[in-house]
C-alpha cells in the first residue's frame, strides 16, 4: 500500500526569480502549512517573478486549488508574476475545472 507522502514547499531564489517546489499530497491537512511556508518566503524576498514547480505533487484536491488561487493573489499584491510549471495530468484536470488557465500562465517542461 502506497503511503501518503509528506507534502511540502521548498523555495529558492534564482536571481530575481523565486522557485517554489511543491511536493507530496496537497490537501486541506497540508495546505495551511504549505501556505505559511510560501508566503513567508514570498513576502520576505519580494521577488519580481516566481515559478511554482508542481512536478513533485503526487495528489491535489480543491484545497490545492485554493492554495494556488490564494498565491496568485499574494503575488499580485507584491507585484510578482507567478507561473505554474509542470502540473501532472491529474492536477491539470483540477486546474481546468476552475479555469485556472485564465488566471495564471501554466508551462509544461
Amino acid at each position: 500500500m502506497k503511503r501518503n507522502t509528506k507534502a511540502g514547499a521548498e523555495t529558492m531564489l534564482d536571481g530575481h526569480t523565486m522557485i517554489i517546489s511543491l511536493s507530496g499530497d496537497i490537501d486541506h491537512h497540508s495546505a495551511k502549512r504549505i501556505r505559511g511556508e510560501i508566503d513567508n518566503s514570498l513576502f520576505t524576498n519580494r521577488p519580481k517573478r516566481a515559478v511554482m514547480d508542481m512536478s513533485g505533487v503526487e495528489f491535489m484536491d480543491s484545497a490545492g486549488l485554493g492554495l494556488i488561487l490564494g498565491r496568485i493573489a499574494c503575488a499580485e499584491k507584491i507585484g510578482c508574476r507567478l507561473t505554474l510549471l509542470s502540473p501532472s495530468p491529474q492536477v491539470m484536470r483540477i486546474l481546468d475545472l476552475a479555469g485556472a488557465g485564465r488566471l495564471i500562465e501554466i508551462k509544461q517542461h
Binding site: 486541506h28 491537512h29 484536491d61 480543491s62 484545497a63 485554493g66 475545472l97 476552475a98
Partner: protein
C-alpha cells in the same frame, strides 16, 4: 419491473460484491488516511490510474467537507461506506452528523463557499461531480449531510 430484471439476469439488479465501512474521527490527518483506505479497497477492481485518481480526489473532497464544514471545530465521526456493485460499479457514501446544509442546490454551485478565511475555492462539489458518474447530496440542517457518489469503472483490463 424489478422481478423481470431479476429473472432475466438471474440475480438482483444491485449485486453487492464487496463492502467496507470506515469510521474516522474528524481530524484533518484522516483525509489522507481515508484516501489510502478507499484506494486500496478499490484496487481489487484493477482500475486505471486515472480512475483511481478520480476516486481518491472525490473521497478527499467529501471527507474534508465533513471535517471542515460539517463538524467545524467540534469533534465528530466521519462515516464512509464503499460498496462494489454489479462487478465494476463503485458506490461511495460519506456521511457526517454535523451542522448540515441549509440550501444544498446553492452549496453545489461551482465557486460557492461559506468559508472566508481558509482560502477555499468552493470547487469541492464540482470536483466530486466531475470525477464520478453520479453525485447525490442529502442534508438536514442540524442533523448532518450524506454524499453518495457512483462510478462505474471501465472494463477489466487484460492481465498477463
Amino acid at each position: 419491473m424489478e422481478s423481470t430484471e431479476k429473472r432475466r439476469s438471474g440475480r438482483p439488479p444491485e449485486d453487492l460484491k464487496n463492502e467496507i465501512r470506515i469510521e474516522l474521527p474528524s481530524l484533518s490527518i484522516n483525509e489522507g488516511i481515508a484516501r489510502l483506505i478507499v484506494s486500496s479497497f478499490i484496487s481489487q477492481l484493477d482500475p486505471t490510474f486515472e480512475e483511481l485518481c478520480d476516486i481518491k480526489c472525490a473521497v478527499s473532497e467529501a471527507v474534508t467537507n465533513c471535517i471542515v464544514h460539517g463538524y467545524r471545530d467540534a469533534r465528530g465521526i466521519v462515516y464512509i461506506t464503499v460498496k462494489i456493485l454489479n462487478e465494476r460499479t463503485v458506490r461511495i457514501e460519506v456521511r457526517d452528523k454535523g451542522c448540515g446544509i441549509e440550501n444544498v442546490k446553492e452549496a453545489m454551485q461551482p465557486l460557492f463557499t461559506t468559508d472566508s478565511e481558509g482560502e477555499r475555492s468552493g470547487m469541492g462539489f464540482t470536483v466530486m461531480q466531475s470525477f464520478t458518474d453520479r453525485l447525490a447530496v442529502v442534508s438536514r440542517p442540524g442533523k448532518g449531510t450524506r454524499v453518495t457518489m457512483i462510478k462505474t469503472l471501465s472494463g477489466p483490463r487484460e492481465r498477463q
